[in-house]
Subunit: 503 residues, 2 copies
């Protein structure tokens, strides 16, 4: 077999594993949307089988042999080629997969399945003590996982790399520190401004059928293709790209709250537009896969916040919203509505936080996670450490652990290393958008006229169609000409909140 054949065979095999994984993707979507109540045991068996078969495919020794063959060849000499990007990321995934002992993978699956159930009950009962032994097990296993995978400077790097390939704790620490230093005074100024938006207007009655129609219309307007996707209802909204031509987004409706479904739909549609923009011909290979969770999140935040909470967007959509919800919005002024959807105030729950304070929630978790993984923080001490940091960051003390360290599912899922990608997403979104405004000078006029194809096309070309050709940091450099910085996000936030809060 020559190197060309080896490369072809390597791709065939990774594609096949991805194809099988995409079957599990559909089963997961169904589980969270339509599956009947009693189907869960059988579904767990199905998903476990697909996971095992996929794992066998991606860790087959032949993959290692083919990788070695193509790495020896001239194929990777040109480090900037598509081929070399494919090989680089297949190597990364293969190494991560084979370094993990099978027993550890199974134990993690077993423990985190149970830990999620315990966490759910513990949050409900506000009982950290019930969750603590499971958090201990999860952290211990993740510390083993980090050792098995290996790392250059700190064990947290090994976990982070799963979600944000190539990112390091040190880089993120440095950029988050800069962000925090600028965010704290901004939030302070907002809080002392004395201005508060009329946010009760978002808590009027918004009939669900109208929310569905209006949300779909907005998702389609920004470019989510309903011929190649769906929007369904679920409890915890998500986006699932099944494969080329098939991307599923979900939302939940609250008849007494406009934001929950509407901005949720924009957010998931942003993820969906990324998935729909990946090159179909590269499905199943790194070139057909999203660059990182941070880049993925940048696409959802960009549409949800940078576009969807902006004045030009609402100059187009607000009259439509008034028609859709005449009782709630008929008499409301655009300025009041805009102020309400841009309300800033410190709060206990991350998923309800505004664009500014949201990032403080993430920095807090990022710091605690590192301490857990290094061993400096014992799981037993998490509630105290959480509340102390919360006081320091927000000058508030969570009244309960349920509103504090028990609020998120991520740790019970074994997802340490995941949280920072949310704020990376906000940072990338702001930096990409700053560049888009330069490249597309009529952007705001387009939005005012309900035209979003310009921005979508720009994102398709600059980001989506590249898949994993570049790592997130390199992609940012290529798209914006600069490394990732906290400044575009700060400039965006200052530009938005300055006028609203008369700073």
């Amino acid at each position: 077999m020559d190197q060309g054949q080896a490369y072809t065979e390597l791709l065939r095999r990774v594609r096949e594993a991805a194809l099988l994984e995409s079957c599990a993707g559909l089963l997961g979507w169904d589980e969270r949307t339509y599956m009947p109540h009693h189907g869960s045991t059988h579904r767990a068996d199905q998903v476990a089988l697909l996971a095992r078969l996929t794992h066998e495919m991606v860790t087959a020794p032949i993959i290692g042999e083919l990788l070695a063959a193509v790495e020896l060849a001239s194929l990777v000499r040109d480090v900037d080629s598509e081929t070399s990007a494919n090989i680089r990321e297949i190597r990364r995934q293969y190494d991560r997969a084979v370094k993990l002992p099978k027993e550890l993978v199974e134990e993690l699956a077993r423990v985190t399945t149970r830990a999620q159930q315990v966490w759910q009950e513990a949050r409900q009962a506000n009982d950290f003590a019930a969750f603590q032994p499971w958090l201990e097990k999860v952290v211990a296993l993740l510390r083993q996982k980090a050792q098995a995978i290996g790392y250059k400077s700190v064990p947290y790097d090994a976990l982070l790399d799963e979600y944000e390939p190539g990112a390091t704790t040190a880089e993120i620490t440095s950029i988050f520190a800069a962000l925090r230093a600028d965010l704290v005074p901004l939030v302070s100024a907002i809080m002392t401004s004395g201005r508060r938006p009329p946010r009760d207007l978002l808590e009027r009655e918004y009939p669900i059928e109208e929310q569905q129609r209006f949300g779909r219309e907005a998702a389609a307007a920004i470019g989510f293709d309903f011929e190649a996707g769906r929007l369904d209802v679920t409890t915890h909204p998500f986006c699932s790209g099944i494969g080329p031509g098939d991307c599923r987004i979900t939302t939940r409706y609250n008849v007494c709250h406009f934001n929950e479904s509407f901005f949720g739909i924009l957010h998931e549609a942003g993820h969906g537009i990324y998935e729909q923009g990946l090159p179909a011909e590269h499905f199943g290979t790194p070139l057909g896969t999203a660059a990182s969770l941070g880049i993925h999140e940048s696409q959802s935040r960009l549409w949800e916040n940078q576009v969807g909470r902006g004045r030009p967007f609402w100059e187009h959509f607000f009259p439509r919203a008034q028609q859709a919800f005449p009782a709630a919005l008929g008499e409301v002024a655009l300025d009041d509505f805009l102020f309400a959807v841009n309300d800033v105030r410190p709060s206990f729950i991350r998923v309800e936080a505004d664009e500014a304070t949201y990032n403080m929630h993430i920095i807090l978790r990022f710091e605690l996670e590192q301490a857990l993984v290094s061993g400096d923080l014992k799981p037993a001490d998490v509630p105290g450490a959480w509340n102390e940091k919360f006081k320091q960051f927000f000058n508030l003390t969570p009244p309960t652990d349920a509103q504090g360290c028990l609020q998120d599912i991520h740790w019970s899922m074994g997802g340490l290393g995941y949280f920072p990608t949310y704020t990376l997403g906000n940072l990338y979104a702001a930096q990409f958008m700053e560049q888009a405004r330069c490249d597309l000078p009529n952007l705001e006029d387009d939005f005012r006229a309900g035209r979003f194809q310009g921005l979508k096309g720009w994102l398709n070309e600059k980001i989506h169609r590249l898949g994993q050709r570049y790592r997130a940091g390199d992609l940012c450099q290529r798209v914006t000409g600069r490394p990732l910085s906290h400044q575009p996000l700060m400039a965006y936030l200052r530009g938005k909140y300055g006028p609203l809060y008369a700073l």
Copy 2:
């Protein structure tokens, strides 16, 4: 490995293959209910991969070795044991699977996929000539398939056995001949009676939301468990048992026709109640699998026709139907409604046929299929042969091939051997129901009071929970004390139509 271990390992392997196949089952359900338009190419790739992996599992040489080991052992001595039934059916499936050359399997998959597309267009355009070369390919491949599988008396047996294990062409020919001999004079008498029901009352406006509510209520009343299943909308209704606790039924709504969704829902719910009644602990093995397509169809026809078109059923449901559809049914008398849903008249389209003439449509296809497989009938001569037989059976000539030999999808799918199971279903349904009336003397009073648990429990115990423990014919003998006969169906039809048509 001792024989006990060999048996355990054999079951583990066949269960695993069934589990993987059940993933394809969910993908198939999604494809026909919710999949976005552009998802079809990727879906085809997913399904083909799952089919290949499943086929590799069921044809693995180790299965043959394990089968040989358990067959040698005492496990099969007691031919009436659960174990021996499991081994008997695993052997049957394994032999069928390994006898087929891989190339033939792939060629059949390729040709029938294309043939279905061509058939769809040909039916639309009423263009048999366009379909003919594809029918030729399909028939040629199926003739090869029959040779590869082998048979005792005629090649058609080998195809029939796929859908109705153990059934033979000779037995079916004999019972269908007896049925036909009695049906022809009955239908004649009905046609010459001069009585015609007011069937236009079924073609009034039936609002779809009310149809949905009413259909769900009826399905739940007869015992379909919505905690372990769903009802969704599709183009060509079907039932798909995904696995224990998860069975999906589907229907389509026509605002101007009551029958289409209502009797369709009863029909699919009948299939669903069978799937839900299979023993979960035997999932994936023959003991957890439906006995045959004929037995499956008996369960759907039993609820749709024997129960759902009967007077006791409507004594309970008709007042409810009048409430649900006051404009259409408010002024209608129960007798008129009952006569309308039991209208008999010769027609061109099988799926629209009544309970009596339906079986003539099947016998016609059964005869043509045998001639195609034996080589006595050339595909080019199908339209002529169809129309000649149709004239002979119904004294009518189809005005077009679209309303004649092009009406059904089955041949384009490669499903020769499938049609007879529909009439076998009608025969089994009548014979089972005759027995149920003996065993449960209060059955009609129960129905009048809206109680269907008695019959459902009887079917669960006598049929559903047995899976493939007995072949269809043996099951019939055990449940009813007699071999399958055409007499119960004829007695049922005479008993129903005699009073309606004053015969």
